[in-house]
Symmetry: C2
Subunit: 473 residues, 2 copies
Amino acid sequence: MAKTQLADFNSNLSEWFNDVVLKAELADYAPVKGCMVIRPYGYSLWENIQKFMDVLIKKRGVENAYFPLLIPMSYFEKEKEHVEGFAPELAIVTIGGGKQLPEKLAVRPTSEMMMYDMYKKWFGSWRDLPVRLNQWCNIIRWEKRTYLFLRTSEFLWQEGHCAHLTHEESIDEVMWAIKMYQQTYNELMGIYGIIGAKSDSEKFAGGYKTYTFESLMPNGKSLQACTSHDLGQNFSKSIDWTVQDKEGKKAFPWQNSWGYSTRSIGGLIMAHGDENGLVLPPNIAPIQVVIVPIPNHQTALAKSQELFKELSEKYRVKLDDHEGETAGFKFNKWELKGVPLRLEIGDRDVAAGTIIISRRDTGEKITITLSNLTSTIDKLLTEIQTALFEKHKKFTLDHIFKADTYDEFKKIMETSRGFISAHWCEQKNCEAEIKTDTKATTRCLPIDAPEEEGVCVHCGQPSHHRWLFGLSY
Amino acid sequence: MAKTQLADFNSNLSEWFNDVVLKAELADYAPVKGCMVIRPYGYSLWENIQKFMDVLIKKRGVENAYFPLLIPMSYFEKEKEHVEGFAPELAIVTIGGGKQLPEKLAVRPTSEMMMYDMYKKWFGSWRDLPVRLNQWCNIIRWEKRTYLFLRTSEFLWQEGHCAHLTHEESIDEVMWAIKMYQQTYNELMGIYGIIGAKSDSEKFAGGYKTYTFESLMPNGKSLQACTSHDLGQNFSKSIDWTVQDKEGKKAFPWQNSWGYSTRSIGGLIMAHGDENGLVLPPNIAPIQVVIVPIPNHQTALAKSQELFKELSEKYRVKLDDHEGETAGFKFNKWELKGVPLRLEIGDRDVAAGTIIISRRDTGEKITITLSNLTSTIDKLLTEIQTALFEKHKKFTLDHIFKADTYDEFKKIMETSRGFISAHWCEQKNCEAEIKTDTKATTRCLPIDAPEEEGVCVHCGQPSHHRWLFGLSY
């Protein structure tokens, strides 16, 4: 039985998820339908993502900036697919400063149109390229049903928007971005996943080609929390933005955009969680080590304070000297919150010069001598980080199923949870019929998918690659 | 004559300001009236403020979180003064997801109501106090006239919102916050200013008492870019939020809120600027040292690249090896952008083992031997930071004028630029009449204003302190 009152992880992941998000105080429902409040413990996960990623973004030469929240509706209408894609999700400001506005303003659902309008104003020569800007901001896309982190009307993200003189350079950046996201997922969040191209019907509205990083959740659903778009020249043409190239001729810049959102935190929660709550990889954990002195043990309390001071220089540490709670209560609390390592200290431990270290991911308890503390913590944090990634990688690879006939495909969808690797003719109607029959959508064409002659699992037409199908969040 | 095409700093500060903001690429006008785009060079000023302040905020035990952008209109209406104060400035969402919304939503002009509603839900015991949360976010307050950074419909800020069991603890935090802002102004931005209490007519809508940090601009106007509010129990009472105190009785928490915005960047630009553009204090400068190799000097270019690598480990450095621009053009460009130190390197310098360092604040040029480079840069950056602060402090103190009669007061307003220190009876009608007659408003009652018996400069009624009056931005 779970130590904390959570829905069952294995049989009811979605209720477990809500329980954990609320009880571990990661987030809460806001009074406005579809919106959420990100509480400090959840927000510090986002801060750690920002810190990790901002370094990588700046290293690429991308600079941070800030563009307005409010976008004139006429801007959207310049790119036909773009406005059709986003119109149903817009929140629209019609009143400002006490007056009905002459033009309605959309609260940004993404900033292509706003940013590129300024690019057109600022950059008119090949010398100005490449343009590389990013912003960390809030986004509104109206949702009817709220699912904390995963599906909310407001979320936080970064959006990078670059422009180049050639398609080749732009594609290079599209791939750089999706791999930068992969690195963040793998190294920071301990999450494995597959990079691939989206099908035409799943790509970004108004874009040319979209790459995604799809990660598999324990219930077999696939989560997409970041995408990198090759926009081609679609946007520069729609707003008539040209630069003078080296020969003095007008050229439409090649553009790309890429974003990574707080949705990813939903994936982090599910990918590693267990029946006792969160399990956080040390690299992203807001608290890496919690020290719990056994209540009313005075020597232990003094020792804990000493250790807290010492360890704080190297790790993110919390000393739980809160009064009025039992040791067991505290253990459960920090397990629920997924803290990677717990140090338990009683008076007898201090007398013996030992300490008990408990691992959140395995539940293992180790007694070590105090003099080995730092080296043990170092070793364990590294081990946990690696172990969680390897576990998620193994889970993912174990749940990729090949289907060569439609019957196999349907059977897998009914009995298993995971990705289905299958041939598909790349026709929209086949994709739609597969979805109607099985609920499975195309997740991506993995970038490393080998050439393989086959026939579409649904219609039998020729196919050259296996796509990944699955249920999506 | 100015080296760059800027309006005259001394006679036309406001046009100079717009010129500098646009030409130094700090910000630009957005298509939506009243909104601005913060360009990378301007945004990195904000990033440096965030880095500096976030450490101080966290050290206090305040945690970052994120609350929704959209706030139901009914929330505002719970506190009468609050809604009256903010209603004329609201941007209002009436359409969401393609449908007219049943309740209008305000785009946040401040988050008291949204946050305290959640506080009420989350915190019900004295054990939960103090509550200390902060968020970095965007804010909309509708403006008719745009003034980049200083007056824009959207701006960025942080807002801290804390709650305590006693008024005393809350006041302690109100003062901590305004002093933390003072520290940021003084140490990071090199700006001197006066901390004081706002008059009742100038305080926060719905609050109990407001403290401000007022800094004097070169044209004698006073800028307020941060405030710290003692909210008393006004908000907890208006939403009926109580906690059980230690005796088990219901108590309304004492609250405070405090915010610091991108307006402050407007002050930074004006406080130190000169006829050639920006002058940035080294601690906040996005680029502290720019290296300009003389064009077409090959040895100098190689040496510059070597120095860039070396200095980048310690400072924020830019190597300007851009082709097709003369040395003079580059010098002007980096002067306009206010970079504290410029290194000029030609082939002859390399041969002689020397380098020319140019100070932005004084224009002074020094030739030093290369082996002394780092120690000289260290020394100069410290000197410049101190010199700018001392200069602004002296300017401010030199422009505080005592007025003991209304004639004196009016004469100072006509002939001088600065703060007027004068007795005032603290009656609203006197304050209003002074404003009508002279345009001067009460800026603040300095916290260190000595008790001094006198009579109101306007009505002759008894007064116990001198207030500061002035023109405001």
